[in-house]
Symmetry: C2
Subunit: 345 residues, 2 copies
């Protein structure tokens, strides 16, 4: 009989938490028990899992007793408070927040790219930022064939990146505008319906926002090189749950679009969507609910002999967050990477 | 008494035509008479201009009798049919279609950039494509100080670029989706509400769409140099009438963001919108109805020593089309450029 594991979801009620539940059920993760943890105000609610109603429990030290894997998606400060305690209890924490991503001792893992990094974990493994995951899955197969020198990225990020409330807000705003009422912005800083704006994360002194610097720093860490030069402009758009990215890639040497296309076609986690005749390429509504990052419009950059242009869309909640976390959990199970730290229980 | 002119609008009923009427009224263009021309099916309708109801007349050879300036915005095939005939009658045609833009003998004019080009017209002056106009106005002042070497642009283009019907369609689709109905795409090839897709203009053999090649070719023609290397990814987004562009600029030599900011601040047709404290930068809803191209997020490109990143928004119908055409008409009047071809009438 194969082993099964006790899993806790920290932040079970959010957009990513909901997706984690669905993925654990649909992918038949070898679960012994599933525990749902959230803040005090969600206690008393239940969430459906495989036909059962699971109660939401308040997070506490004792909540992690006997847990093998924590899937944390409750924001950075919650992760900072609880991840260490969960690890002390013998759990491995797969953390979706940005709290630990750039810590040297914490592996930052995209299973299609750097599964080997997971082996060195000391209890915490970080799940990268959504835009970084999507970009990494699409570019890694190309980078392995000929190294990437520089990236210029522009993103088209859905409301889901700011959570379920932002997704609801853009719909409420759209309804308001369509009936001649003003759009009220409460979750996001500006109206997003029929509008867009540069990503509203804090700006550094150079004028880059946090979201952009995540793409720069996390991509380098995942790819295991500080040599790739990266610049990004991150923009929030009125789309519900899939991100898109226009990616200009400069390689060290020329890379033909035909070869890039062939490589993408046979790489894991990506799907080439290119119907040149019908002018049909990846779109957020088609990426929604899918596991793969959709890639298309691969073409020789007419402005640079070593350049390729590429367009991608991916489900922000799924591969951009929940799916990647579950894949890391599956990797831990498959490679027996829970053991070294497992305290008997 | 200052001279006044007979103006005809060809394509008066479209989104750009409507804006042309408003601009001619509000800017107090020295009009003698205004004639509204459209296809047969609009004949019988009237449009309001300065409190008067002007009839729409069918376009014909004789319709151009006595006309000094034709503002044409009825699509490429209509322009190809009628522009020559209007010129034969002594009019100067300012054409908003792409029909004549790349013809060597036709000036392609953005008044803030290359007003001198208008002097060499032979009866037709072309109004550039919307994304090109917005980009040109923002970048020209920088290019004059230190030459631009390469541009990597990603656009966020509103529905208005596909006309008034596309603007209505994205709203109808939004209503449908919000009430749980499917989004029907009739004007645009795919649903645009809560979605986006690469620009649906025809693709060339290299995989660039027409919209992208317009940016490449028209920008070079307006700037008077074939040396600038340009690549672009054009994307349609669910915004009503202002386009945005994420622009990565590589100069021949370094260009400090402070200097760029100072130059933009004092240049015509652009407005710097940068509140770093409040994370407030140009947005389509704020660019809507404004004459200026809003520019912000000017920052040193951390991936290139000679790079700057810049973000812009501009009203697609106004500066991206109608306003630029009216400014060209004003330039013709001001510089007395109607005369050489004017046949007495």
């Amino acid at each position: 009989m194969s082993k099964s594991y006790n899993v806790a979801i920290l932040g079970a009620t959010g957009a990513v938490g909901t997706e984690l539940l669905e993925l654990l059920a649909n992918r038949n993760f070898p679960l012994a028990n599933l525990k749902l943890l959230a803040s005090e105000r969600s206690v008393g609610r239940t969430l459906s899992f495989k036909g059962e109603n699971l109660p939401i429990e308040a997070v506490s030290d004792r909540a992690f007793d006997g847990i093998d894997i924590v899937l944390a998606s409750a924001g950075g400060s919650t992760s900072k408070t609880w991840a260490g305690k969960a690890v002390e209890k013998g759990a491995v924490v797969i953390d979706n927040s940005s709290a630990f991503r750039m810590k040297e001792e914490v592996p930052l893992v995209v299973p299609e790219v750097n599964p080997q990094a997971a082996a060195h974990h000391q209890g915490i493994i970080a799940n990268p930022n959504c835009t970084t995951i999507l970009l990494s899955v699409a570019l890694w197969p190309l980078h392995q064939v000929r190294p990437i020198k520089r990236l210029v990225v522009a993103t088209y990020q859905s409301a889901s990146g700011a959570g379920a409330k932002a997704m609801a807000e853009v719909q409420t705003q759209s309804s308001a505008i369509l009936s001649g009422q003003p759009a009220v912005a409460e979750v996001l800083p500006y109206p997003l319906a029929f509008n867009l704006f540069p990503h509203n994360s804090p700006l550094n002194e150079q004028g880059y926002c946090e979201e952009e610097m995540k793409m720069v720093n996390e991509t380098r860490k995942i790819f295991g090189t500080q040599q790739i030069r990266i610049t990004a402009t991150c923009v929030r758009v009125p789309v519900l749950r899939a991100h898109s990215e226009a990616v200009n890639i400069e390689f060290e040497v020329p890379f033909s679009p035909e070869e890039a296309r062939e490589i993408i076609s046979r790489s894991p986690g990506v799907k080439l969507i290119e119907d040149w005749q019908a002018n049909h390429f990846p779109m957020p509504i088609e990426a929604t609910g899918r596991d793969e990052v959709l890639v298309g419009r691969i073409r020789q950059d007419i402005s640079h002999p070593c350049g390729l242009e590429l367009w991608l869309c991916g489900d922000q909640i799924r591969k951009g967050a929940a799916l990647n976390a579950v894949q890391i959990a599956e990797l831990l199970v498959e490679k027996n990477l829970l053991k070294p730290l497992a305290i008997s229980h």
